[in-house]
Point group: C2
Chain length 230, copies 2
């Protein structure tokens, strides 16, 4: 362990020693959505080797970021401690930055419930947010995003399984948006909502199309200024 230390007395260094190992940050990303069982994590991170998942969970527990909680009925879940949850600003900042470099999806890239949830949180602009209920489908992930008074709540819905907790928002959504990876271009502001529909990047299958404007204002990550000069 001392051999793996960076040998500096510094906050950044300490942080990287705790969550810098491969896969660790993605486990935290998924746990930021909510407590998850081992199998859920494995499913949300399909390419993670099971021994690595197991090793990371152990390290994250030793670091005090994650707790292992036996469930009353059956099984057990991993959840973030308050110290682990304090990583949210880091994950959001990382997501915002990485969003700029995403480009088009590679072959075999997937979108998971957790990644889409954090992407929405990443792109959320409380000050520009109109109150609304969106249902968003990307690939086979379905989310309900509730915007209320500058607060965002995201819940995973239906396919494939019913949500664990009963907190599915009731009532009809204002808009049901079915999108592909092209939704990135909408959030980046590379295309307008009208163009997005025209180019068939996405579709509003229920509700008024006007809500898509609202969506695009609410969820937005401005691209970097031209990197050519400076």
């Amino acid at each position: 362990m001392a051999a793996r230390s960076y040998g500096q007395y510094c906050g950044v260094t300490t942080a990287v020693e705790l969550i810098g190992e491969r896969w660790a940050m993605l486990i935290v990303r998924d746990l930021l959505v909510g407590p998850r069982r081992y199998t859920d994590l494995k499913q949300g991170l399909p390419r993670i080797p099971t021994n690595i998942l197991s090793a990371r969970l152990k390290e994250l527990q030793e670091g005090g970021l994650v707790r292992r909680v036996p469930l009353m009925n059956c099984g057990l879940v991993y959840e973030l401690t308050s110290y682990g949850r304090a990583l949210e600003p880091v994950v959001l900042a990382l997501g915002r930055w990485g969003f700029q470099a995403m480009g088009e999806p590679e072959d075999g890239d997937i979108v998971t419930g957790a990644s889409l949830t954090m992407a929405l949180r990443t792109a959320f602009r409380p000050d520009a947010a109109d109150d609304a209920e969106y249902e968003l489908h990307v690939g086979d992930v379905a989310l309900r995003a509730s915007v209320n008074g500058g607060q965002l709540m995201v819940a995973q819905i239906a396919p494939p399984a019913p949500p664990v907790d009963g907190r599915i928002p009731d009532g009809e959504p204002d808009a049901v948006i079915v999108a592909g990876p092209g939704i990135r271009r909408l959030i980046a502001g590379e295309i307008t909502p009208a163009e997005a529909i025209e180019q068939e990047e996405l579709d509003v299958v229920r509700g008024e199309v006007a809500h898509l404007e609202s969506f695009a204002r609410t969820f937005h990550i401005a691209p970097l200024k031209d990197p050519v000069i400076v």
Copy 2:
């Protein structure tokens, strides 16, 4: 490369693929202070193997984060592109989070100019900042921190070498603070300035002691609330 991909179309994932490798974030941290030559980086990261430094710099260039700039006179420097500089919020968030877990320094831990500079930026609170000039010594690192109208500028000074550029702030500092690692406890608010001096964690060798109060207000990272309950 495809084998090293996390296989997800997600901002966090993309970011981690670009700067998640060992040492990469620390190289960025150092470059956020300013352009550096290969040898400077190696000196600021004493434990990095030279082949790794070389590999990372190559990867960071391919990722568009870092540029290699030949100097007119002699040698060359590495500097962040605007895309690389956009990582500053990430590094600051990481530093702020990691600060909580720093504890006491391990044997052999060092403090470098870059790490201390970023630590000050991390802890800086523009809204609570009084205008002042501080000279801060920790170990054999010496910094000049200028606070002006909610703006912070940090420059490395004297020992061992004169600064590269001529931008050493002129005039006497309001306070010269000589500290050890115990300065962490002051910034965390675990001890008051008076206690810090009393316990010999640090010393104000020039200027009025009152400026230390100002320093502690200006540079502060509040600890997490008790993590026992939640």
